[in-house]
């Protein structure tokens, strides 16, 4: 068993624009089960941060409890991190973000951490449109506590720990819920499709406001059996793709002419662009109602709809809503906060 990764990396791989190698974005060697979907998501996070030229110390990774919530140990070793109590990552993220809006916030959670114990926190962080990326590594079970069904386990799905019994309850669809709550960026993907997940992650991390990605991420140990709707094979056989996404950094021009009917270019607040080539008809990612129709339809057909479902590129995040000052609150000095005796005197006079 290896406890450390060799320090060698591929000699031909280049440094990114801020001077880092991809290895600089990696973390400790994973202790998750071999083949766990969560590891693929970690690897995609590493790739996304490397490609987005994020300086590791400009990012904060936050999580709750669960195998999924353990993953921040396995990526971005040089970033800030916080493992919160079960389901409480959104409050920590809110506090941190309020204190320092200059960091990039990446929240990692599980379906148990989010859809059960953390549900209350989840809906409110959406409502606040906190500027963060929120990933749910969704395996339909409580992996860390030996695979009990979670609230996202589909009706009729069979897991290993259920002793052959199928799930008797209807699943909570986190994507549908996020849309209902007016989340400003909503996407779904699959840990086994990095080609789709990578640009989605990059777009989410560049979005101003709350960006939610539900990533189906098979638990190889407790929920990768036949009969499970969160198994590699089942997902591959039932996946449906809305469109393919291209993330275009602001310094790059869009070179190809795009077809108005099937292509859509969305400009984000910082002038980066995402270009979508739509595979689905009657759907516009900036039109919430068309996205919701698509979701309902695919569910009816027994498909797992993936891709960027909805985005509001003009959304206002919590700081904009609250109209906070430009300087991060944690950097405000006493001189900034204390207006001086004479001003205080004027204020006091107002109350007399």
């Amino acid at each position: 068993m290896s406890y450390t990764k060799p320090s060698f990396s591929h000699p031909a791989l280049p440094r990114n624009k801020v001077g880092y190698l991809k290895r600089d974005y990696e973390g400790a060697i994973s202790t998750l089960c071999a083949g766990c979907g969560h590891d693929s998501i970690s690897a995609t996070i590493v790739q996304a941060c490397y490609e987005l030229n994020i300086e590791p110390h400009h990012l904060a990774k936050l999580s709750g409890i669960g195998c999924s919530s353990k993953t921040p140990t396995y990526f971005m070793s040089n970033s800030h991190g916080f493992n919160s109590v079960h389901g409480r990552m959104p409050s920590i993220a809110t506090g941190a973000n309020m204190a320092n809006k200059n960091l990039i916030y990446l929240g990692v959670s599980g379906d148990g951490d989010t859809a059960s114990i953390g549900m209350g926190q989840f809906v409110h962080v959406i409502r606040r449109n906190l500027n963060m990326t929120y990933i749910v590594m969704n395996n339909g079970c409580y992996g860390l506590t030996k695979g009990q069904d979670s609230a996202t386990a589909d009706f009729g799905s069979v897991s290993k720990s259920g002793g052959g019994e199928s799930t008797p309850f209807q699943a909570i669809d986190l994507v549908g819920m996020a849309m209902e709550l007016n989340a400003s960026f909503v996407a779904r993907s699959f840990s086994g499709d990095k080609t789709q997940l990578l640009p989605l992650l990059k777009a989410a991390m560049s979005h101003q406001g709350f960006a939610f990605i539900d990533v189906i991420s098979p638990c190889v140990t407790f929920n990768n059996n036949t009969g499970s709707t969160k198994a590699y094979d089942y997902v591959r056989d039932h996946i449906d793709v809305l469109g393919s996404l291209d993330f275009i950094p602001k310094e790059d021009e869009i070179k190809v002419d795009y077809d108005q009917g099937t292509e859509k270019v969305i400009t984000l607040f910082d002038d980066t662009k995402i270009s979508l080539s739509k595979l689905a008809q009657d759907w516009d990612p900036t039109d919430k109602y068309s996205a919701r129709d698509k979701l309902v339809q695919s569910k009816k057909d027994g498909h797992i709809l993936t891709g960027l479902l909805y985005i509001d590129p003009t959304s206002k995040d919590l700081h904009q809503i609250l109209n906070t000052v430009d300087t991060p609150l944690n950097q405000l000095q006493e001189t900034d906060l204390y207006p001086g005796d004479d001003v205080l005197e004027v204020i006091n006079q107002g109350f007399r």
């Binding site: 499709d193 094979d233 591959r236």
Partner: protein, 624 residues
């Protein structure tokens, strides 16, 4: 798998696959059962002319099993103690580690560790039968080539006569390689292991007629006479200066046999190869105070091994480049020095070099003696032209490249005598093959069709869920330096060995640098669930899952560009998503992480053992 309906993701992949398929020839799945594929992955062993199982002996050294490590070497290269000091080490530039950091593993000096620290080995060597098989073989020349043939054939009961013009065995290892690089005791020990196998030696016997040899009743004759003629330099003044001018290899032999005990105070050595390095360093030890090595070509083009040049420079030898010799200058019947012109190297658009005069004035370098070390040639004045043994270009024998058989079916060649001057390890490798041919020939078998295949074995290293039988951890240590004898001490006596060799601790640490390239990553496609875990964990980005394609195109679509074309791509059968697994062998660390992270054991680490079959080991073959 369904490709209907809304299953667009699958269709996308499938279309890419079909496209790739029709567009061109996609890569075929790698045949992992072909031992040559896996052999090539073990870079050092593949590059070694005798294909010594390097990582196997390095692991044994790390376990302090020096005797076993020695025997692995002895079986392949016959002279581990000699080669551990003097080998040209083609394995080291090939070593994988050199593609990941500055320096390769010190493969050669580790061989010496095995030789220096081994226990009793003689009883482990093949025994010679008391009852002979009735066939008689003559070996002409007593160098590494002939000695290897003797070692491979004596255990089979052949009666062997060995002829050499000098007073002891070893060939150029005795006459040329100086004692400060190879102590005489080390040479004698390993030569005697062979001569003690009941070889009848005819020393001080120069064979002057092949015709005669053919009438002596030998069933086969092996010619291992080397390339014994040193090149001369015919420039003005050469004849007049003759008393002060020597041919390098003759001079070195003279020193080795102590006919020559001293040299003048000012010496010029002409030439830039390893012989020149041995001549200049020897001069320094027998009386020269100023030694100039003068080379026609630029420093970077010098033929000598970098480490030999380094050692010479450390001994205050002056190396002057871009100076072709013009004339020996005499004064009062004595040599004054050599006149050199000055040139610079120019390259045409094909990279072909020419040396162009710079126009600067000629330079006179003073010298009492000059040693010419500008190359050797083969020379067979003793092989008559009318006996049916054909000599071709450059007077080299016409040979079958696989069997080393000459146009006279009972006469075989090997070593420097076969294809021109090379080195000890090449001589050994060729001689193993010649020995097999002689055995097949005298058993009435076909020399090509009946050649034995290599012995190969492949064993899973799985011990527990994530435990391997080999030490898979990769260490960061940089190459350890071999300690040297104090300069004043080694320059005072030509028999004092310069290099001291690694002690056990340094040997262990250096051994740990080896990546165990023979611990092969073996992929079983139908077990793979395409979870990507292996691809994600691989520290050097060797693994990719991509739609198949032509090799050239595929090489650019992997996790990291696979630009080293000398290294193969390991391609799997088509997987469930219509992609293939592609592993670029180039910088795999053999760390086993891919196999540790694989949930289905689609990857396994398997120890690959490959050993060239020698005549005396017979034709054991184990299929994978």
């Amino acid at each position: 798998m369904s490709i209907y309906g809304h299953n667009i993701w699958l269709i996308k992949n499938y279309m890419q696959y079909l496209f790739a398929f029709f567009k061109s020839t996609s890569m075929k799945p790698t045949n992992i059962k072909d031992p040559e594929y896996l052999h090539k992955v073990v870079d050092c062993q593949y590059a070694c002319p005798a294909h010594t199982p390097v990582p196997e002996y390095i692991r044994l050294i790390a376990e302090k099993k020096y005797t076993e490590a020695y025997m692995i070497n002895w079986d392949s290269n016959v002279f581990p103690g000699i080669l551990g000091r003097t080998c040209d080490r083609p394995c080291e530039p090939a070593c994988r580690r050199g593609r990941l950091e500055e320096e390769p593993v010190a493969i050669c000096r580790l061989k010496r560790v095995a030789a220096d620290h081994k226990g009793e080995v003689k009883h482990l060597m093949p025994q010679v039968p008391l009852v002979k098989n009735g066939k008689k073989i003559a070996l002409i020349g007593g160098g590494p080539a002939s000695l290897t043939v003797a070692r491979d054939l004596a255990p089979l009961g052949y009666e062997i006569d060995l002829y050499d013009e000098w007073s002891g065995g070893g060939g150029m290892m005795r006459t040329q390689i100086p004692s400060f690089r190879l102590p005489i005791e080390v040479l004698e020990e390993e030569v005697n292991y062979i001569l003690d196998m009941g070889i009848t030696t005819h020393f001080n016997h120069f064979v002057d007629s092949m015709k005669d040899m053919l009438t002596k009743g030998y069933d086969a004759i092996f010619v291992g006479t080397g390339a014994p003629k040193g090149r001369n330099l015919n420039i003005p003044g050469r004849v007049e200066a003759d008393a002060h001018v020597h041919i390098g290899i003759e001079w070195l032999a003279g020193v080795a046999f102590e006919h020559i005990k001293s040299v003048g105070k000012k010496v010029i050595v002409l030439g830039g190869g390893n012989t020149a390095m041995d001549c200049c360093r020897t001069s320094k030890r027998i009386g020269a105070e100023v030694v100039n090595v003068v080379v026609r070509s630029p420093f970077k083009n010098m033929k000598a091994s970098p480490w030999e040049i380094e050692d010479a420079l450390r001994e205050d030898i002056i190396i002057q480049n871009n100076m072709p010799p013009k004339e020996f200058i005499m004064e009062d019947g004595k040599l004054k020095g050599v006149l050199f012109s000055k040139v610079r190297a120019e390259y045409d658009k094909n990279g072909k070099r020419s040396l162009v005069p710079t126009g600067e004035p000629d330079v006179l370098i003073e010298a009492d003696e000059v040693i010419i070390a500008i190359g050797q040639d083969n020379s067979f004045p003793w092989i008559e032209k009318d006996i049916g043994l054909e000599l071709g270009k450059w007077d080299l024998p016409v040979l079958n490249k696989t069997t080393y058989q000459s146009t006279l079916p009972q006469v075989f060649f090997g070593g420097d005598a076969a294809f021109g001057p090379e080195n000890v390890i090449t001589a050994v490798a060729q001689a193993h093959q010649a020995a097999i041919s002689i055995d097949l020939y005298l058993s009435g078998k076909d020399l090509v069709k009946d050649r034995p295949s290599p012995y190969v074995n492949l064993v899973s290293q799985k011990m527990g869920i994530h435990e391997w039988m080999y030490d898979s951890q990769v260490v960061d240590d940089i190459r350890y330096q071999v300690p040297h004898e104090e300069k004043t001490k080694s320059l005072a006596d030509r028999k004092v060995e310069v290099e001291l060799g690694f002690d056990e601790i340094a040997g262990f640490k250096e051994a740990q640098r080896c990546l165990n390239c023979d611990a092969q990553t073996i992929f079983t496609a139908n077990r793979c669930i395409e979870c990507d875990a292996c691809m994600d964990v691989c520290p050097t980005r060797c693994i990719s899952f991509v739609p198949n394609g032509e090799e050239e195109d595929l090489r650019q679509r992997l996790s990291a560009p696979a630009d080293n074309l000398t290294q193969d791509l390991y391609v799997s059968e088509t997987l469930a998503t219509q992609r293939v697994m592609v592993k670029d062998e180039d910088v795999c660390l053999h760390c086993g992480l891919c196999a540790e992270r694989c949930p289905t054991a689609a990857w396994d680490m398997q120890m690959f053992f490959y050993n060239v079959t020698k005549a005396h080991t017979g034709c054991e073959t184990v299929t994978v």
